[in-house]
Symmetry: D3
Subunit: 287 residues, 6 copies
């Protein structure tokens, strides 16, 4: 169960409106790697977690914190949209204003009346498909690491796209929390291993005897870029402790696919003889 | 530049058709974590990679290999769709057939004429949004680890959803390659660090002095699940080597948000006095 | 800022698993009119609200409550998915089990490992486009009324699709809250009027003198269904208190559209003479 | 059955081309609340209406009229796109032209050759998910009210985003029809009540004795914004005539959710002991 | 401008309800190649057509006719949904009913109350992206041919998926109109050529001297399937009358791509030396 | 099985960066008619083709070639994004730079770090729904013709939107290949006919005796544009060789649709008497 209090987790107050940045900041709100995604992803992982205890509790805490980030960014965008110009500026204005008018997202004014929404920086709606909660924490925590890395990367880039100190302060807070959260997931991964809950390859419980050993440690070269085999993934010990990497040119081990003729009632293109025979039969069957 | 040869990378031949499994197998073809995603993701990461050499070459190799996986699964689904029943079976048939008819994806016959397509197991189209190629290999390689984990998890689950030995053989091949590829990305992450190209927090080049130290190592409790603080992410040394984790209850450090009245020409709801004054002004401006 | 506590707002515990209902219940979680939508819609309306006070505070309260509903339904679906059969049942089982296998959503097991996700009952992802926060409370509160009506309608229908008393109890709670919330929005609409903040037509501040009186109270018959003019919308006093409804057959008041030839560099199909002349000019321009 | 005649319902002729406004006008054509939505929504509501007579006939009339609005806006956008500049203007041009170039939607020229399409002002395609036709007219007519309010709000905003008298004239027509249509749906709602077809709460036929009285009239405070309880939704008579509103702090009435361990063949993370035991059993079962 | 009359263009009355077919029939209503698509596609092509006369008039006629098809299929689906079972049948019922329950689309009852909607047979919403109106009639009429072919193919397949004579009669009508419409577009393509409005390659007005002759008639073998060169596309006269087809193995004519280092403020992975230097500069620039 | 080599099929090197064109060029990469679509469409058609030999082999060759086009355009966009300005230019810069800043796609920098992605020119993700592989080559090859026409049209338009000779050279290559590929599909269509595999109407194997002759050759006028009947599709011999075209005004041949009352448990709006009776029964049934 959730409760809300009115003060924000951190200050969200720009020095001045900026309609172009209001568009861009949507990316870390409603983009694939934005705060909507991490909030919902951690909460669904928490709700679906079948293991009671520290992992489940931690997921609920961080998911709830991310909701507060959604709130701060939304509030910031709302203020950046104050005084967004309704029309193209006249020719007496300068290039900066012209640039910013061009970069504007028209939905922020026409649809939202000067407000943020759960869409990305191009106005594409946030999608529930951005959320993964697989039930396997090892797989999901690796996703969470990259989510915090992609997120920190994006806010770090945005840091250089504005001179507004108020905006930069909120970005600095977000960069810091993404730093913390990267470490949190990396620690949790180590703890999952230490607790014996899973390992590499994930899921570790799948019986390895079902694998084809020939392919389990081989880097397959399907491109002619030769430097690829200089990497540690092409020779030397593999992280599962079960042998060494090797490399090989890609080879075909399978059949040349030939498909059986389809049901003539599907009217696919197939061998003339067969088709005719089958269609006749089908016609008979129809009558 | 790409070339193609007709034999498959591995055998893809079911013992018998199975329309219900033909629907389910779409998940690892055109789902968020399916082969379409990893093929395209690795290729775009390779194409966009601004660092020539082993990483870029490796990305092109594995991306190209994944295209061959797309081909195998497509070929398998095509064969599983042979003899898909056009109509509900009559009452003389058994429960297995009734179950399978119910689970069928009608587009595989009506739209594709008994064929696979780049959609997931519920028929939702594959989306270009599933691909991330951020230009930062550290962030992206962590995504690639989880992609292989989610992928291996899904095929491991599918392994228990069929008794068909032909299908199981292809799944065993896929499970094995996902094992290899998990290790490949884990090794590549270590190599990025060893090469000094990036680290934790990612991106490492963003100046840490811009962060707020108060928040960089603190696990924030926003939920009352107390076990969360038992984890290694709440106390003890943090993976960045820059201090210890601590934990604290979530606190509000920001303002209670109050937004300025909007432009009256946007007709948002606002304070009566202001609204009236502004609307009068706007009306004057209009006339 | 948000906080979370572990007990649920209301009990969510089914008597028994039911994979078919687990699919169906997704509709009121991640469908267009599900709890994800109302939670996010009310929160965004609250955050974007430029009028401090009772409306903004109320929006934050109800939006936060709806998050707790998301949590309860997710928890219920997770339990309905216990023991979902991985394979089609054999022929010794009965029709009920065959029916339920057919109705299953394969992603709930293959992707989520037996868990809920922000998608609808057909597995289509929830979309940020479902959220409207226009900045105009009168317009949005009418949307909120229908959201609660559509929501109550759907849970009322679901009530008849299960015999599970545990599930029915949660549905009864949801039906009740949707009852309350319908009344809440209806009251808030009256209060907006009483406070003079807006009225009919919405937005009331748009100058009526800009309208064409000829069309402001006329029901236009564009179909030959004559009963349409028997309604109160075709004669008698109109709700804006500015006159009576009337009705008229649809008439064309505009031009027959004729478009100017396009830029020949866009290669659209146009008049032969013009095209040739323009293309020659374009070719000249190119050289 | 439909027929078409060439003259438009109202004049759609701009004074001059304007590529930036051509992008923005797409919102009320192919956006969530645009004419495509209302046309299709009213028609599907009409087609699906199981009650013959005035409501069904009225739905068919207004749905058909909205198709004529789709046509007018499309025609207007086509003309606004005449002479859209293919390339960025040179440095001798002024800020207005630079602003407009920036605001352009590139698909209107590259894809459509200078034409409109069923997409919103950011180029996101119109979605069939925007249409709701629930079979319950009371719920749907409330949606229709807000559709006309959101629509009128958007064209009212667009009115201030152009100086073109031809465009403004069409907008004035649209504003007027949205005024009429708001009143039409409000009247129809009253008529549904008068005819005894439904009421509040909707659907009224759902047996109220299934509700939990404790929650049917209580405004639940989940946020600390105290002004929320000043509203008429927190005390005083409720619109259903069945009692008074009251308010209460949110409370947890449900269990702390604990999920059963999942099927080990789904490889979710769960209790160590259980997992091992179950995996051993699963392995036995596999062999 | 459009008008509507109540009788349908053709009878749409099933012999009996059939919830499984009600799901499947959605494909030709709201699927990519369904009636929604052709109705909207032809209308947008007509509206955007800059050439007055027979082509534009014809587009408006057929687009309007297709609206009447949308209406018939919607009406049919509504009737197929009468008596859709709310719950899984008990074990005393037979396999047919179990099959049909499994195949049901739950949204048709839960969301639509027993009605059709603009979604495909898997419940994925119809998309405005399905519509193409490029402004070039030659390109678009070829799309229209395939739209009628894909449409006829789908209804021909559906013909074999039901025994209901009422449904089959409507399908027979649709098959017939798709037959007519295929011929209509093929004739119109010939007429465009005869009128000199465009030709092959389309657009014919693009100056051929800008092409690279080496590649304009060469079938490039990028796969080792040798039979490909037996086709008429690999030797013999080409349809543009400008030479003979030839074939050649694919060859690389371009550079090995090497990208310049990116802006260090984007934190992409790049050469160590460069990165460090650039980051130092960036840090200097920041301070 | 696929392999890759590092040199590009054709040179992809711009003379200079151009962030506005980098956005626009996305259309032919990840738009509906871009290279992602044709690559995937031809490959899926090839994989699903049940007829071994020249058609299947040809599909694999051209599909593979299109992958190389995806690679070239991606590489070009990457280079066009070098030096994309992070912030709006200051007022000392000129209109060209201001225009280009406005036209920029913010995701190309914020998300991709200066790279291309499988999205269109407005940033909407590529969709698997763009791919059609129906199993019927006649239907699909007509789609392939229009795909090459739409593609050539778009690159021809883009040719006039840049002055960069490097970009123009790649466009010239693409225009040329689209020329070739149009002819390839047109030849293949003729060859399908010559091989007797299908014809007009497609699918030819569907028994014509099931059609209604009255409607198979009639152009139906549903709009009052009289010029429509001047076309060859309204009189004279039809392409199927089975008679002459004729034309007729649209007529209603079907019933006025009246739907049966729905299941009262779906709470749809219906006749008062019926509703009440049915609801009473339902209530009885509930108790």
């Amino acid at each position: 169960m959730f409760t809300h209090q009115k003060p924000l987790q951190f200050t969200a107050r720009p020095d001045a409106p900026d309609p172009a940045f209001a568009r861009r900041f949507q990316e870390v709100l409603g983009g694939k790697w934005g705060e909507m995604t991490v909030a919902m992803q951690y909460l669904y992982q928490g709700w679906n977690c079948r293991l009671p205890g520290k992992y489940k509790d931690m997921l609920m805490s961080i998911g709830t914190e991310e909701l507060s980030h959604v709130e701060m960014i939304t509030t910031m965008i709302d203020q950046l949209l104050d005084k967004a110009p309704p029309m193209a500026p006249d020719d007496t204005t300068g290039s900066t204003q012209a640039s910013e008018f061009g970069q504007q997202n028209p939905q922020q004014t026409i649809v939202n009346g000067g407000g943020a929404y759960p869409h990305d920086s191009n106005g594409v709606p946030w999608s529930g498909a951005f959320v993964t909660a697989s039930g396997n924490l090892m797989a999901d925590f690796h996703l969470n690491v990259t989510a915090e890395m992609q997120g920190r990367l994006q806010v770090a880039r945005l840091f250089h796209m504005t001179d507004d100190q108020g905006v930069k302060d909120l970005i600095r807070f977000l960069v810091t929390r993404d730093h913390m959260h990267q470490m949190q997931w990396l620690s949790a991964i180590e703890e999952l291993k230490a607790d014996g809950l899973d390992g590499v390859p994930t899921p570790e419980a799948f019986p390895l005897e079902e694998e084809f050993d020939e392919f389990s440690h081989t880097f397959i070269q399907a491109s002619d870029g030769e430097a690829a085999t200089e990497g540690s993934w092409a020779s030397g010990p593999a992280p599962d402790g079960r042998g060494d990497f090797r490399s090989a040119l890609i080879e075909a081990h399978g059949q040349i696919p030939e498909l059986a003729p389809g049901d003539p009632r599907l009217y696919g293109t197939q061998e003339l003889q067969e088709t005719k025979g089958l269609i006749d039969k089908a016609k008979d069957a129809l009558s």
